[in-house]
Each structure stands twice: as C-alpha cells, then as structure tokens.
C-alpha cells in the first residue's frame, strides 16, 4: 500500500530523526528512543540541523513550502545510515508523502533514497534488526493505539509484538481499533468539531477497557487524546512505545510523561 521498500541494513549506526514534536514537547520520548536503540547496541547520531519532516505543509496542500523543508531534511540526513523516527506519520512522510510532492522535481531520486532508508522505530527494531521480544518488566495493563499513517506497513504489528513479549505487561484490545483518533495535524484545527468528536469516541472505547497506560508509536495521537481527556477532567496516562520499552529495561513502572 504505502511505498515502504527498504534498503537492507548493514551497520549498526543510525541517524535519529527526533521529530519536531519531541524537539518542542516530548524530550523524554527522544531520550527513551536513544536509550532503547543503544540498549540494542545501535550507535545513534543526531544531526543537529534537523527541524521537521515537512508534513504539516504537505497535508495542507502547500507543497512548495513543504518541499523547502523536505530539501533541508534531505541535506541534513545525508549519508547511508538508516534514519530512525519514533513516529509513524513522520516516517511515512519520508517514504511516501514526500515522493508525491516531488514526483515532478529533478531531485526526486535524493528524496526517494532518504525514503528507502527511513524507518519507524518499532518497524526498525522488529523488521530491521530482527528483535522480536523485549526484556525487563512492565507491570501495567496497556492499550495500544494503532496509528493510521503506518497502515499497510509492519509498524503496528511490530509494536504489538514487542509489547506482548514484556513480562508483567497485559495488553488489552479496545473497540474499533482501526479507526482514526481524529488528530490529523491541521485537520484538528480546521475541523475542530469533527476532530474532537472522533477523539471522544476513541476515548470512550479506550476507557471501556480500563488500561493503566495508552501507548502509541505516534505521540501526536497521544497529544490529541491525552489533551482532550485532561481538558475534560478525566485524564488518561499516555506513553510512547519507546518510553514503555525504556521503562521495561529499568524493570519498573511507567515513568511520567
């Protein structure tokens, strides 16, 4: 479905695309991503000039603005190492979205090359490195929100496989799991009534199975659902997959944030 063809992995050095969301709000998630990758013996390089994947403008139809950002990203992530992203939607922007907006551009091959070596984190761990179980312990009931942008890729199944393998962790499935949470980037501010109605429906399904933690491979969905729940005065605990994996290594309980 998605253009998710991958260059085979060779070394164990990766470039981390931390995402603008981590840069601005979720530093602990980026830290956890580094710690999880280093636990797997992967050397993590962080290209300092990185900003954003270009997705907001791409989705908004402003492809000229988006291409400017993508070109910057292509330049920033030069080299041959895999690029690992703790976000399905930013990863899909690199291996699918950007190709659409560059289809008539002379530098399409460079964009395609970056796409082929960009991996969503869970996909990289399970399908790239071949790691199928996770050590440590995490004593909590967890619901996994399968984010939409990696439909048709191995990401959601990879995340579920890792979570299920953790000692002490109990996975619960909730209703209509394949439905969108309603975030959709700028969709959430241009269509606020529809977006929040979708989010409330998702929260109803999630609350019905009473998880201790709601987990996702995409923090933007968690920002939306967590932000809605908190504003409604019925907060839910949200974490990114990387934070759960990191906390499991510490043998413990969910960290804050």
């Amino acid at each position: 479905m998605l253009n998710a063809e991958r260059t085979p992995l060779t070394g164990k050095r990766v470039q981390l695309m931390a995402t603008c969301l981590c840069d601005a709000f979720y530093d602990d998630l980026a830290v956890a991503t580094v710690q999880v990758l280093e636990h797997l013996g992967v050397e993590v390089v962080f290209p300092e000039a990185q900003t954003c994947c270009g997705q907001p403008a791409f989705n908004g139809g402003d492809w000229a603005a988006s291409r400017k950002v993508v070109r910057h990203t292509v330049k920033t992530f030069a080299g041959d190492e895999p690029v690992v992203v703790p976000s399905g939607s930013c990863a899909a922007m690199m291996f699918h979205g950007a190709l659409l907006e560059f289809e008539k551009e002379p530098d399409l091959p460079e964009v395609e090359a970056l796409g082929r070596r960009t991996w969503e984190l869970a996909d990289f761990i399970v399908n790239g490195l071949g790691v199928k179980t996770w050590p440590g312990r995490f004593d909590a009931t967890v619901a996994l929100h399968r984010a939409c942008h990696t439909r048709g890729t191995g990401s959601s199944e990879a995340a579920a496989m890792l979570l299920r393998s953790i000692a002490g962790l109990k996975m619960v499935e909730f209703g209509e799991g394949e439905q969108c949470c309603g975030f959709g980037g700028t969709f959430s501010v241009a269509f606020p009534n529809i977006s929040t109605a979708m989010g409330d429906l998702k929260l109803d399904h999630i609350r019905a199975v009473k998880p201790d933690v709601l987990v996702s491979g995409d923090m933007s969905c968690m920002m939306h659902l967590g932000g809605l729940a908190q504003q409604e005065g019925k907060p839910i605990k949200t974490q990114h997959l990387a934070q759960v994996l990191r906390d499991a290594l510490r043998g413990g309980v969910a960290s804050s944030g």
Partner: protein, 462 residues
C-alpha cells in the same frame, strides 16, 4: 473563528441522525470485513487485481467505447453520447417525446442524481418515479440521498411513516414490513402504467455489450418487465474490457457494498426483446454520459474513475460517520465524493475544493476500496491544486513562515527556546488562531523546547 463548512454542518447535525448513520455504517463495515476475510485467503490481493482491471479500462476508453458502441448497435440498442448533464437530460426527454411517453419508472442510478434528471423531466411535464424504496422516500420528501448505496441512511422509520401518512399511503405505522408493503402496493400499479423504464448500469462489457445491473429489491427488473422502452444511463467509466472481468468485480461489489456475496438480483441485459421473447422492452437506448469525466481522466486523479460505487469508503470513514452525507453538498459524499465531486465541477472546482480537506488522511478508505483507489493521495493532490488556485481554506494555518523556520536551523533553535512563552501565557493571548482552537478543547503539554538537545550535549558519551 471560522471553520470549514463541513465542520459547521457536523456541529449542527442532530445527535439521533448521527447515531443512526454511525450504527448503520459501522455494522455494514464490520460485516463486510468479516465476509471478505472469512471467504478469501487474501482479499487485499483481490482488491489490487480489481483495481488493475478498472485502471486498464479507464486508460483504454478511447478504444473500449467505440467497441462497446459497435456491440450495442449489433445487439439492437440505440446509442447516444451526452457530453453534459443538460444534453443527457435532453436526450432522455427526446426519446420519451418521440414515443409519446409521459410516465417513467426509474431504478436507482447515481448518474441520474448527478444530472438531476427527475426534476428536469418533471419540469417538462413528465412523471419520473423512483422505484428503489430509499429513493422513493427521498423523492416524496423532496430530499436528497445521503449515501450512494443507502440513500436514506439519515432517516429513521418514524420519519418515513410520517411521510407515508402525509402522501396518503396509509395511516401512521412505522413497522418496516408495513412501510415496505405499502410502497410495493403503490409502485406495482405504477410499473404497469409506465411507458419508459430507466436504469443505470453497474458495468458494461465492451466484449459483449452486456449491461450489468445489481439491485436488492428487484425494482429494476419490474421497470423493464412492464415498459416497452428501456433507457440506460451509463457513465463512460463503467466500461470493462471483458465479460470475465465481471466475475471478480461482482464478487467484490456485493461484499463491499452490503456485505452480500452477490446482491439479490444481478441482471445481464443484452438488448431489447428478441422476436421470440414474449415480453420485455421492444426498444432500448444507452446514453453514455461524460459530464466532466474526460476532464477527470486527464487529471492527476484519474484513479477515482475506477470507483464502482459500493460505498465501503463512506461506511468506514470516521469523518462521514460524524457528518453524514448531506454535509458534503454533493451527490457523491464521503471519501470518494470528496475527490470526485470537486473534480466533476471542472473550472468550478473551487466551489467544492474544501471537501478534500475534510479528512484526517487516516487511509481507512484506501484500505477497504474494492478497486484499491489511493483516495488519501488523491485528496492530497486536490489540496495542492486548491492551494495553487488560491482557494481560501478557513481554519488551515498558513505555512510560509513555518517553512522558513523549518529550513533554517538557527531560526528553528531560537523558536524552540522562544516557545517557552507558552508555559507562562494563556494560549488565547498569543496571536496564533490555530493555537486558540486547539487550546479550547485540549490541555497543552508543557513546552520543553530544546531540552532533548541539551540532554544529548550534557550526557556522558556512551
């Protein structure tokens, strides 16, 4: 704050309407998925093959359309070409006048809704009666269909019983069996009195000239059983190359549309009645309708012409479920409508360009489409076209300044530091409308701009 028209429509939709749309679409989607995955080892592969069949057909219309025309003529069918909605309507009227006909019975056809045939004929003194139960109810209520397969998905049986009482079809009774019996009784007499029967076509084969119709009520068969003249309105994209293509397409259509292996009636019509046949229409016309399709074919969104009108993308779409069909202001609502409706407008594209924005791009529509149309990609292309044509888009934040920041690392880092103001000032004091909208319903996480980079710099080297 001004938001998108669909969002405003959703906000004012009565909760009971939303609930009935939600329940019905959810149930159909779940049955559809179960049926496909229970019965086929790899339904997704079938969707790809079916997509290939239809893509091949639309890319070869230049040879398939003359071929099907020749076949139809050889089968005794008169063929007409209509470039616009007006010419399609005028062709129907001309056929009726030439026969001295005044009464038409209609089977359900989306293209007749698209060209607004029934009101046109009524304006010219003809009766054009809908015989599909849902379309019949839409017609007596002077309403519009809100779903391409289930036109009255937005109505409940109490509303229908009230309409029937008003139309003199019997005292108020909202039992579905009674409603159906009353409609059947009324329609049976109309079939017998009608001069002309009008249908659409789900498919038409260039190999044989066969028209394929699928229905669940048998009304299309009645339309053709009693009338002497059959008119079929056919969008030019309905052609498939070979009869055997129909095997897969019909198998996917019923399952995707209504979670049926096949619909209750599947008709293959090869022409007017032969001399040896006791009854059936003695005259048959096929009107091929373009009405903007050639322009869609020339666009970068031509894959949308693969659509076989099953409605699966409407059923799964979380936005359609919140909005219902009328919010799309179009004959074709939901994800397929958000692509097709603005495209069919040609130069008036800006009037419905907003529809392409009414999606979180979740991709569920692509995942269920029986002909594998990459709807999210097409929505994105239309958003790009809207931007190029400077169509206003209320609520969508401008991206120019952001793109400048995000392509200048120094400016980006400065913005990361500057964002801290969010932690001290209420969002409504900041001059960013999108932030006001967001903060009205969401608690913002604390701003931690630059903290990760600081951690990286300060930590001991691994």
């Amino acid at each position: 704050m001004k938001f998108q028209p669909i969002d405003q429509f959703a906000a004012t939709l009565p909760p009971d309407k939303r609930a009935s749309v939600y329940q019905s679409t959810k149930a159909t989607h779940e049955k559809r998925t179960k049926l496909l995955f229970d019965q086929f080892a790899d339904p997704n592969r079938l969707r790809e093959i079916a997509g290939g069949i239809k893509q091949h057909a639309i890319e070869n219309l230049d040879t398939l359309l003359p071929r099907v025309e020749a076949k139809l003529k050889a089968n005794g069918v008169r063929v007409h070409w209509a470039a616009t909605a007006d010419s399609a309507c005028a062709t129907v009227l001309g056929i009726m006048r030439a026969r001295g006909a005044t009464r038409m019975v209609k089977a359900k056809t989306m293209v007749s809704e698209e060209i607004e045939l029934a009101p046109y004929l009524e304006k010219h003194g003809m009766e054009a009666l809908e015989t599909d139960l849902g379309e019949f109810i839409v017609q007596i209520d002077h309403d519009h269909p809100s779903h391409i397969v289930r036109p009255i998905i937005h109505k409940n049986r109490r509303e229908i019983a009230t309409s029937f009482e008003r139309e003199g079809l019997g005292a108020y009774d909202d039992d579905p069996g009674t409603i159906t019996r009353r409609a059947r009784h009324f329609l049976r007499h109309k079939y017998l009195a009608a001069d002309v029967g009008l249908t659409g076509a789900n498919f038409i084969s260039a190999e044989s000239g066969r028209i394929v119709l699928v229905t669940n009520e048998g009304n299309s068969r009645f339309c053709l059983a009693a009338t002497k003249c059959h008119i079929a309105l056919v969008g030019i994209e309905k052609v498939v190359a070979r009869d055997r293509d129909l095997a897969l397409l019909l198998n996917l259509l019923g399952r995707s549309a209504t979670a049926q292996e096949l619909t209750a009636y599947t008709e293959f019509i090869s022409g007017p009645k032969a001399a040896a046949q006791p009854d059936g229409p003695e005259e048959m016309h096929v009107i091929f309708v373009d009405n903007g399709r050639t322009e869609v074919l020339a666009s970068e969104c031509r894959e949308i012409l693969r659509c076989i009108r099953c409605g699966a993308c409407l059923n799964v779409c979380p936005v359609y479920r919140q909005v219902s069909g009328h919010g799309y202001r179009s004959v074709y609502p939901g994800p397929v409508g958000a692509v097709l409706s603005p495209l069919l407008l040609g130069k008036k594209f800006p009037q419905k360009a907003d529809l392409a924005k009414a999606s979180s791009l979740c991709g569920a529509c692509h995942e269920v489409c029986p002909v594998n149309i990459p709807i999210p990609d097409l929505l994105l292309r239309l958003r790009h076209r809207a931007k190029e044509e400077s169509v206003p888009s209320p609520g969508t934040p401008p991206m120019g300044a952001w793109a400048l920041l995000a392509s200048q690392p120094t400016a980006w880092k400065a913005a990361l530091a500057g964002g801290r103001v969010l932690n001290y000032l209420p969002a409504k004091l900041l001059p960013v409308p999108a932030l006001h909208t967001w903060a009205a319903t969401h608690t913002l996480p604390p701003w931690r701009g630059g903290e990760f980079r600081k951690w990286l710099r300060q930590r001991p080297k691994p």
